[in-house]
Amino acid sequence: SRKEIEKQRSKKAPWMADVDWEGCRTAPEMLHREVDAFTRFISPSVIEHKTREYTIECIRRCITSRWSDAHVFAFGSFETRLYLPDGDIDLVVMRKSVNQYNKQSMLHTMASILRQANLAQSIQVISKARVPIIKFQSSFGGYPIDISLNQTNGVDAGRMVNDILDKYPAARPLSILLKCFLAQRSMNEVYTGGVSSYAVICLVVSFLQMHPKVRRGDIDPLNNLGVLIVDLLELYGRNFNYDNTGIAIEGSGYYFSKSSRGWHQYGQPYLLCIQDPQDVGNDISKGSFNILNVRKVIAGAYDMLTNKLYAQASEIDAKKTGRHLSLRDEVEVKDEEKSLLLSFMGI
């Protein structure tokens, strides 16, 4: 029925029910409130996190009961809590007595004991990859899980990213928003040329470091999420000189010329270039070969969002000056019409 369709429609922007509109006067203020509500909505709840923790604990017990010298760690977005509702869990098993030769057989044994313990479904061992992994869906919770063996850098990165997020608290909501935006367009996986979560966080942190108003301390970014998300889309979609400029976030952040480091990729001058905060000799985003399309969708998002902001601003103006038709006031404006984020998130 029509009513049900309407109800379904309002589910497009479920976070809108949570927005605090009290004292909201301008379009960017409305966007700020919505970004705030959206990130609260999309971020894992305590229960969600505990369920994932429990799933990990079951897997940990299964593995350590077979190999008592093994340690199981969760890393990446689980550790930073920046995962999306359907985001995967990255686990690493650390075991000293494993070398290059018995690594493969251990992965296969691990796969079969997880299957026997009824913890894993549609399990596969991907041994030919640069980093061999086991991929499966957890029986409990149905989470997509990757397990790798003796990969230390991921574990350290999670800890470091948490330190950075503590230093730049506004990077959390902006990163999850950008991450969600890219995930909607399947542009968040490096193996398909997209941008990794690690790179997304670096992009956001660099943006906050370089933004002239944030850098000088004129504004607290946590109180300006609305205007800052537009400024961010503007920088990376319309202005940033990808051909020349590389990003570094160490200290208070700086830019460097890609060619001065010899970090130009032959035939792909347009690639994003980010110095690994953990390894100054490493460019973490050189594998994002689809970056031209990423830039295009970011620029498109800027256009859509600013158009929506202009429309919102003239609506506010019309209300103020009383040009607003009273009839329109009586009709409840649907959440998804009011939503500014929906204009470009495309959820």
Binding site: T26, A27, P28, E29, L31, H32, M210, H211, P212, K213, R215, R216, G217, D218, I219, D220, N223, N224, G226, V227, V230, D231, E234, L235, R238, N239, F240, N241, Y242, D243, N244, T245, G246, G251, S252, G253, Y254, Y255, F256, S257, K258, A299, T306, L309, Y310, A313, S314
Partner: protein, 113 residues
């Protein structure tokens, strides 16, 4: 009398909010680029709050005055105001957030210079 007609024509072409000739009033950046500023006390105490010692205090104060250019990757100016050839294929029609025009606006426009 003779100058009212061209004037009217002009004002219709340029923005009534900021005077820019490159957009119409309803598509003015000042409609959304509105920052919520900290108060003066907060602005002045930023390095004290974020530093552990005098050296770090000095570093933070130094970093605040820095400008970095998204175009040539150098410091000392912002990307919009760069003298080098623009690398991004999208032309710059309106000043972006990374411009002196944006930096030198608001209640702290002349601070730390």
């Amino acid at each position: 009398r003779n100058c009212t007609v061209p004037k009217q024509k002009d004002s219709r072409l340029s923005c009534r909010r900021c005077g820019s000739p490159s957009h119409q009033t309803r598509a003015c950046l000042t409609l959304w680029r509105i920052y919520q500023y900290v108060d003066a006390e907060h602005f002045d105490s930023k390095p004290q709050k974020e530093s552990k010692d005098d050296a770090e205090h000095k570093d933070i104060q130094q970093a605040r005055t820095e400008m970095w250019c998204y175009n040539c990757a150098d410091s000392g100016h912002l990307g919009d105001d760069c003298d080098m050839r623009r690398g991004c294929p999208i032309p710059l029609i309106e000043p972006s957030a990374f411009s002196e025009q944006n930096l030198f606006s608001g209640p702290f426009k002349t601070a730390l210079i």
